[in-house]
Symmetry: D2
Subunit: 140 residues, 4 copies
């Protein structure tokens, strides 16, 4: 399947984030104002109790939220995280799905939200919920 | 130099977090209520503009804050992140230093803060500041 | 109309918060996991530009979120705010409606969210969005 | 004592916030990057347990943080709250003192922090700690 222009733009940025490759992040889906990423909770990405490290959960969700903001930016603009707040809800195991979305796209700031899930669709577990702010900057 | 009992406890937990090894995190210092970690912004831990990925900054700071809370826990208790809020202040390059500290250790929750710096001591740059909540749980 | 037991419980607590009376808060609706409050942006509740003071927006939303948590508590428990994070989205004018809801009710903590709106239903403006944590305590 | 130019500017803005008068807020002190406000926990500003309503604590602290940001703005700029995060630490009684300070003043955003205390200086209690973001806007 061919990427939409929005998906192609996000995939290009995603592929240039070396951290995402290090963590095994996968770009799953993009539409205007909504982006999904995923990552397996590999054995080398865990905390001391054997579940997903909070840093993995945050990284995936912050990126999904940032790409959701990027999906509504003009071509000459990209975004950076101003601030992000995460509430951890349950341990993450198996494969994590992070969904980011735009809450309000202002001229100067974009307010975003994200949620992280794990497990099969019909019994998925809510791992974390996030709320934050992105700022548009000139694209490089 | 031999670790103090507090440092030894934190080092043992730190060494069991595979994510920290994947990111090249180093345990630097612990005293009651204060912990310092560091990590180099390796080429494989960057975002699309070539500086430290926000996920790396968060992971190091959240861990430093969590270990600061652990440093005031009795032997049979450890801590988990309830929630954490990060403000990104400047790009992180070179080597990151994260310092976590206890703001208030209550019976049911521990409020923590953390800051991340980079660069030489006399000209160090403030990369991020965090505020959050840890919850004590039975040690495994 | 007679209050449901949940609404009656929340109304009793609401009426005992003197701050709510000072701000002219009105209890509008409660069902398990969801509570709505409202308040007029009276002339004496404004900031220097003449719109709703952020403190009014926060107070109404924090209370709605807290009551949403209370709505799922057993009779012998009430809740206190551990932490709350607000993103301001647009100026609040006229009458504010705050809707609080439970994101996840755990045994030890309840994660909540809230949104504040103003204006007529069909053209309402999103004034603020919040995410936070409540802790159950013994009811007095 | 005559106000410094910074204090005079903040006092003028403070006096134009009707909400502050409604809550009995007092402007105490301003220097570049640091502002202190206070308020008595009057009987009409309490929650159901008889201590300071969280909304009062937030309002005072958010304002102190905002004025700290204003204290470093040029004459033709003022600030608005983008987002604010509060951790409640202990019940507020008697008289509340809120101290706001600038963490980092950037060109496009100002990161701020605030703390709220109550009780006599030598035994004061830490009521709340906050971290947030202000945005400069044209002064009216």
């Amino acid at each position: 399947m061919t990427d939409t222009p929005i998906a192609a733009r996000i995939r290009a940025s995603f592929d240039s984030q070396t951290m995402m490759q290090t963590l095994g992040g996968v770009f799953e889906h993009a539409e205007p104002g909504l982006v999904r990423l995923s990552a397996e909770v590999r054995p080398d990405l865990r905390q001391q109790q054997g579940v997903a490290h909070g840093g993995l959960v945050f990284t995936l969700a912050d990126s999904a939220a940032g790409y959701a903001a990027l999906s509504v930016m003009p071509e000459n603009r990209e975004v950076m995280t101003v601030e992000m707040k995460i509430n951890m809800l349950a341990p993450g195991t198996g494969r994590l799905i992070a969904e980011g979305r735009v809450v309000r796209a202002g001229r100067r700031l974009v307010v975003v939200a994200a949620d992280v899930w794990c497990g099969p669709d019909d019994t998925r577990r809510h791992v974390a919920t996030l709320q934050g702010t992105m700022i548009p900057v000139d694209a490089q």
